[in-house]
């Protein structure tokens, strides 16, 4: 059930890609900095957000 136009879809796709890159960058940074386990919660929350954005772009919702 689509509820966004091409512009909204492009925005979601772009946000999803940016969020995926940020997720990877944060994960690498946390590994390099030997951050404590609680910090890694941030990586999975970011990964969740990027998944939602990419699926919304795919579904046009």
């Amino acid at each position: 059930m689509e509820n966004i136009l091409a512009l909204g879809r492009r925005r979601r796709l772009l946000n999803g890609i940016i969020m995926s890159v940020v997720t990877l960058a944060v994960a690498v940074a946390l590994v390099l900095l030997s951050a404590g386990p609680p910090w890694f919660a941030l990586v999975f929350v970011l990964a969740f957000l990027s998944t939602v954005m990419l699926l919304q772009a795919r579904e046009r919702t």
């Binding site: 059930m1 509820n3 879809r9 796709l13 386990p37 609680p38 890694f40 919660a41 999975f44 929350v45 990964a47 969740f48 998944t51 939602v52 990419l54 699926l55 919304q56 772009a57 795919r58 579904e59 919702t61």
Partner: protein, 297 residues
């Protein structure tokens, strides 16, 4: 740029993402198993992620999708949920207790093959030579990985029954995937899991063994907040990408690729836990990757 989203590779990527997130989920659930029972952690992670997905989906198109949903679709979603999470998973935990996790996983791994046969019979999805070769190669590789990591569990008592029950588990998982496929024509992955996970959670909380571990989990306090946050996010990712894989690709591709979590667990164990890789496990990983390439390209 949208081609990448609409192509079949997107569905395959979703199925693989589901397997990766499931591998990390399994590691974390096992770690938290020291705090309280796995059934309680299972119920908590599914409840929290179900609430998050329901809230996000209601902020989007869920209300319209649910209003437009036919009774048949709701029946398909509900029966798929009861079959997989209610019956299949419960029997699987019992099989894993009797046979050991490795052996139970190996036996249940025939579920993608059953799903492929059901998809051919009921959904008209053709079984091509390539998909059959890819599926068999991937599952053979996973079998090698799982048996190489197999824990020596189980006693002779009840083993034959557990082996037979493992086939029932595979049957329920395969049937669940097949039942969800037509329902996904009407629902987005977000809404579908926003409906399914709260149903699973309600079912799990009805079980006394799920509720039994709750006081110990609450008593654990702040140290479990971060792992539970991670588990909630991972469960949401895993469930959404599993259903997206099923929606955007063939049943055989989605079910086989989403079953590759042992391969990811092998890599994660070697990278972060310093686990040694046996030659059989390495061969299994290579076979699995070869199977994925055959399935996906």
């Amino acid at each position: 740029m949208f081609d990448a989203l609409t192509g079949p590779a997107f569905g395959a990527a979703c199925a693989l993402a589901s397997a990766l997130s499931w591998a990390i989920t399994s590691l974390l659930v096992r770690q938290l198993g020291n705090v309280c029972s796995m059934m309680t952690i299972n119920a908590v992670r599914i409840s929290l992620s179900g609430l998050v997905l329901l809230a996000i989906s209601l902020g989007g198109t869920a209300r319209e999708e649910l209003a437009a949903m036919t009774a048949l679709t709701f029946l398909l979603v509900a029966s798929s949920t009861v079959l997989a999470a209610g019956i299949g998973d419960s029997i699987f935990f019992e099989c894993a207790r009797v046979l050991g996790l490795g052996r139970a996983m190996t036996l249940a791994m025939i579920y993608p093959l059953m799903a492929a046969a059901f998809a051919a019979a009921f959904l008209g999805e053709p079984i091509t030579l390539r998909s059959a070769a890819g599926a068999v190669t991937t599952l053979a590789g996973l079998g090698l990985i799982v048996t190489a990591r197999s824990d020596a569990g189980g006693t002779h008592e009840g083993q034959r029954r557990a082996v037979l029950l493992s086939f029932v588990v595979a049957l329920t998982w395969a049937a669940s995937a097949i039942i969800m496929k037509p329902a996904m024509r009407e629902l987005s992955p977000l809404t579908a899991q926003g409906v399914r996970l709260p149903l699973v959670a309600a079912f799990l909380w009805l079980m006394p063994w799920s509720r039994a571990g709750l006081p110990r989990l609450l008593a654990a306090g702040r140290p479990v907040v971060a792992p539970l946050t991670v588990l909630t996010a991972l469960t949401a990712i895993s469930s959404m990408t599993w259903i997206a894989g099923l929606k955007y690709s063939d049943v055989v591709v989605a079910t086989v690729l989403s079953s590759t979590s042992p391969m990811f667990a092998l890599g994660l164990g070697a990278m972060f836990l310093g686990e040694r890789l046996s030659p059989a496990a390495v061969l299994g990983a290579l076979l699995t990757i070869a199977g994925i390439v055959v399935l996906d390209i």
